[in-house]
């Protein structure tokens, strides 16, 4: 079908678009050229992330300490939720290839079925990302920010200990919490099992911790936003919002394009046109979104 398109063009004289050295239609080639530019954009984002990570090597948060939760499951399950998100996106890539494949064979109903499943996959991914963002913003155990903006965490028996527990508050009661630093320090000093881990991942004992907090502590941090981040360096949160946000925006645009594609398929637009090349072009974009996630998954969550 791409071939029939090109054969029509080939009948034209050379200077009217008759030569097709790449044997690819104009639209498909331009989608690829757009994807090259997008590849370079995402490469630049991830390289910038790498720069900051190398620059703050000893105080950069460890991703597996940050993304540890799974909806409806208690305890710590690092990587499990992003693994699920990866699975959803790979699965939706497969349904997309199947839609393209049936498009080649002009089987309208099968294209409709597989496109619909791809759209569902896209929405599932977006919902997962919304949950992940919500959890990241709400925060986990809280932390103490120092006057030099480094972030230290409370530990008990070599596990991270929640500041909500120290303050006797419930982190999931739906209310907005705020803890005063001196109240926290008072309660911290009363419980001799507690100690802190510095940003560079070294530990102090209980007495050293009290002394250290007295001289250096600035405020109690709960959750993460663009200027405060309880998980560690604030740039980590900034990159998280920016890179996963930009990728999520790509997924969202992809879902919108797929919905338009589905409507056109149902209306028979491509049947009348004689080929389903549009499915192939949007398919390229959708696979690219999956491709970017493969890299985000590695460089944000694994490495």
């Amino acid at each position: 079908m791409a071939d029939t398109l090109i054969q029509n063009d080939m009948k034209a004289p050379a200077w009217e678009g008759g030569d097709v050295p790449y044997k690819a239609s104009y639209g498909k080639m331009m989608m690829w050229f757009f994807l090259i530019t997008d590849t370079l954009t995402f490469s630049a984002f991830l390289a910038a992330y790498g720069f900051s990570r190398f620059k703050y090597e000893d105080i950069w948060p460890v991703p597996e300490d940050v993304f540890t939760h799974f909806p409806f499951l208690h305890g710590e399950h690092p990587l499990l939720f992003v693994a699920l998100m990866t699975f959803i996106l790979i699965m939706s890539s497969v349904t997309m290839v199947l839609a393209v494949n049936y498009g080649h064979k002009k089987e309208k109903n099968k294209v409709i079925m597989w496109l619909s499943l791809t759209i569902i996959g896209g929405f599932m991914f977006l919902a997962s990302q919304a949950w992940e963002w919500g959890h990241f913003i709400h925060g986990d155990s809280g932390a103490i920010q120092l006057k030099n903006t480094e972030v230290v965490h409370v530990y008990n028996d070599s596990h991270r200990y929640s500041i909500y527990d120290i303050m006797g508050a419930d982190s999931h009661d739906g209310q907005h919490h705020h803890f005063e630093l001196n109240n926290f320090q008072e309660k911290f000093s009363l419980n001799s099992d507690l100690y802190i881990r510095l940003a560079n991942r070294t530990f102090l004992n209980h007495e050293e911790s009290i002394e250290y907090l007295n001289t250096n502590a600035n405020q109690v941090l709960l959750g993460a936003n663009l200027k405060d981040n309880e998980y560690g360096h604030v740039l980590f949160a900034d990159y998280f919002f920016f890179i996963t946000g930009f990728h999520g925006f790509h997924v969202f645009s992809g879902v919108v394009l797929l919905i338009i594609l589905l409507i056109n398929t149902i209306k028979g637009t491509y049947e009348r046109r004689g080929h389903y090349e549009m499915v192939e072009k949007i398919g390229l974009y959708w696979h690219f979104v999956d491709l970017v996630w493969v890299f985000v998954f590695t460089f944000f969550y694994l490495v």
């Binding site: 790449y22 590849t39 190398f54 990866t86």
Partner: protein, 107 residues
Amino acid sequence: MSDEQNGSNWWIWKVFWILLGLTAFEVGLGMYKPEFLVETIFLGTKLLNHVFIVLTLIKAGYIVLVFMHLGFEKSSFKWTILLPAFVLVPYLLFIILSEGAHAYLML
């Protein structure tokens, strides 16, 4: 390619299982972190990270060459798409990451 033309879908599912298997393997490595891979440092980072990067590039290869069909395009077209990334991305990473390591020393 001929399979695609005669209408069979098995090659799609084959790539799916490869991608799924590689991802599961990565997650397993990330959870259990074999001591040998964590403690061996190579080119400034853990050997484990090199393993992750190689597995990621294999996954990317399958997505681009099979799912995005680039492996079956004319080779002049294929290289027009791939070469800019192959040249510019390693260059960018080399410049920016070595600058980051330098900034760490200056901090």
